[in-house]
């Protein structure tokens, strides 16, 4: 067995062991994750142990130059077509927004949450950047977004407001 074979076996072996370690929530695993820039270490715990049971809704509204505020409108994050089992292009952009909204929700639920940290968070800036391109009236002065949580098709309770941003000039 030559050196190439040994190197390949070692490479696969380390990768496989790394994947096994990555399934755990230890602090040192989080340390390894920081260096997984290309995300080659998967986490295979699909919908477990705590499956997502909440729908998050991203809403926005505008304020015009006369300080008149529009109604909230929803960015559709959940609609799917019958053909989505073959072709589901919109899933990609919805997944990003969904991940960002979930991250915002996590930040807001932290015990040590503060307003400045929320406004400077990656997810806040990302959502705001996305909303600036939403078609709007010419006299729009600023934009605000909100995140609402609901239980899904069969509603077990009233939707709850998770987060509401400031108005931002656009």
């Amino acid at each position: 067995m030559n050196y190439i074979f040994i190197a390949v076996i070692a490479f696969y072996g380390i990768w496989f062991l790394g994947t096994i370690c990555h399934q755990f929530d230890y602090k040192w695993v989080a340390g390894i994750r920081k260096f997984d820039y290309f995300r080659i270490l998967p986490r295979w715990t699909f919908f477990a142990p705590n499956p997502g049971t909440t729908d998050y809704h991203l809403l926005y509204r505008h304020m015009d130059k006369n300080d008149q505020v529009s109604d909230f409108k929803e960015i559709p994050l959940h609609d799917r077509h019958a053909s989505s089992f073959i072709w589901n292009a919109s899933k990609r952009s919805k997944k990003v927004l969904f991940d960002l909204v979930q991250e915002m929700n996590r930040i807001c639920n932290r015990e040590d949450v503060n307003e400045a940290a929320v406004k400077l968070s990656f997810s806040y800036i990302c959502i705001l950047n996305f909303l600036t391109k939403i078609p709007k009236a010419q006299d729009t002065k600023s934009i605000q977004f909100a995140i609402v949580a609901s239980s899904g098709f069969i509603e077990y309770g009233e939707p709850t407001l998770t987060f509401c941003s400031d108005f931002h000039h656009v």
Partner: protein
């Protein structure tokens, strides 16, 4: 009837089928990305202008020099390159040409994984695993390396099912039979009719559905030890499971990623059971 087990006992045929299925899956991914290309512009949801701010290398000089690789135009070019390579790859005969084409796809896929700091899923990772393995195998072009590659892919797939099964088994929501109905009730991954049907069904039926997934996923490692045809039901279950996830939950890329990896399981089973 077509004998899958016998067909996939040949590693070359395994690689051929894996390559074909991976290319189909990646073509869908690339065309999906191109369909939402506007989202990769500076004001889009995938804006590199915003995404780059999250990287640890934000102040690194090399990172600044490579910045152009992640912008809108480069992204379109990369997707077109993947499409071109995926069309040629299944028909390529020479192993070196295959290695070069896969190297291009692999490099771009890893770049996208690096770029898209949010929004990636497990199917992208499984495609990366398959692509890197195909690249190593075709580059070295040795029967031993081909076999080791198939063992590695099958190991990752079996691990994915077993980990998912154990994670579900330790969850009260899964053991108690509430998990599936709760997932199906969400508008994100669920289906209204199925949620309504499950909520009208007995608790025993919901427990059965949840335990069906827990037990099969936990026992999935048996596919590599059970003699033919006893391991086939596991693979049929897996196929139907991913088909359901694609049709009902919209997780279409998972279907192709896992299907592409299945020939490696046939091969490992053949290697162990003879």
């Amino acid at each position: 009837m077509f004998n899958f087990s016998q067909y996939f006992s040949n590693y070359e045929q395994c690689y051929q089928v894996i390559t074909w299925l991976t290319c189909i899956g990646l073509l869908i991914v690339s065309f999906e990305y191109l369909a939402i290309h506007k989202e990769f512009k500076p004001d889009g949801v995938y804006s590199w202008k915003v995404f780059r701010s999250r990287h640890n290398f934000i102040n690194n000089r090399l990172f600044h020099r490579l910045d152009f690789l992640f912008g809108y135009t480069a992204f379109i070019v990369c997707q077109l390159l993947i499409i071109g390579c995926c069309i040629i790859l299944p028909f390529a005969q020479d192993h070196l040409l295959k290695a070069i084409l896969i190297a291009i796809i692999c490099l771009i896929s890893l770049m996208i994984s690096f770029r898209n700091i949010v929004g990636a899923d497990g199917s992208d990772q499984l495609f990366s695993i398959i692509l890197l393995t195909l690249f190593i195998s075709y580059l070295i072009n040795d029967p031993f390396i081909y076999r080791i590659g198939l063992i590695f892919i099958s190991g990752q797939v079996v691990l994915s099912y077993v980990v998912a099964g154990i994670a579900k088994g330790i969850s009260q929501k899964w053991r108690g039979g509430q998990a599936i109905i709760m997932i199906m009730n969400t508008k994100t991954y669920g289906h209204e009719k199925i949620a309504t049907m499950l909520s009208a069904s007995s608790r025993a039926f919901n427990i059965f559905l949840c335990w069906n997934i827990i037990v099969v996923e936990c026992l999935f490692f048996a596919v590599i030890f059970l003699p033919c045809p006893w391991f086939i039901p596991f693979l049929i279950w897996g196929f139907l499971f991913h088909l359901y996830n694609a049709v009902i939950m919209g997780l279409n890329n998972f279907f192709w990623a896992f299907l592409a990896a299945y020939p490696s399981i046939f091969y490992l089973n053949h290697l162990i059971t003879g």
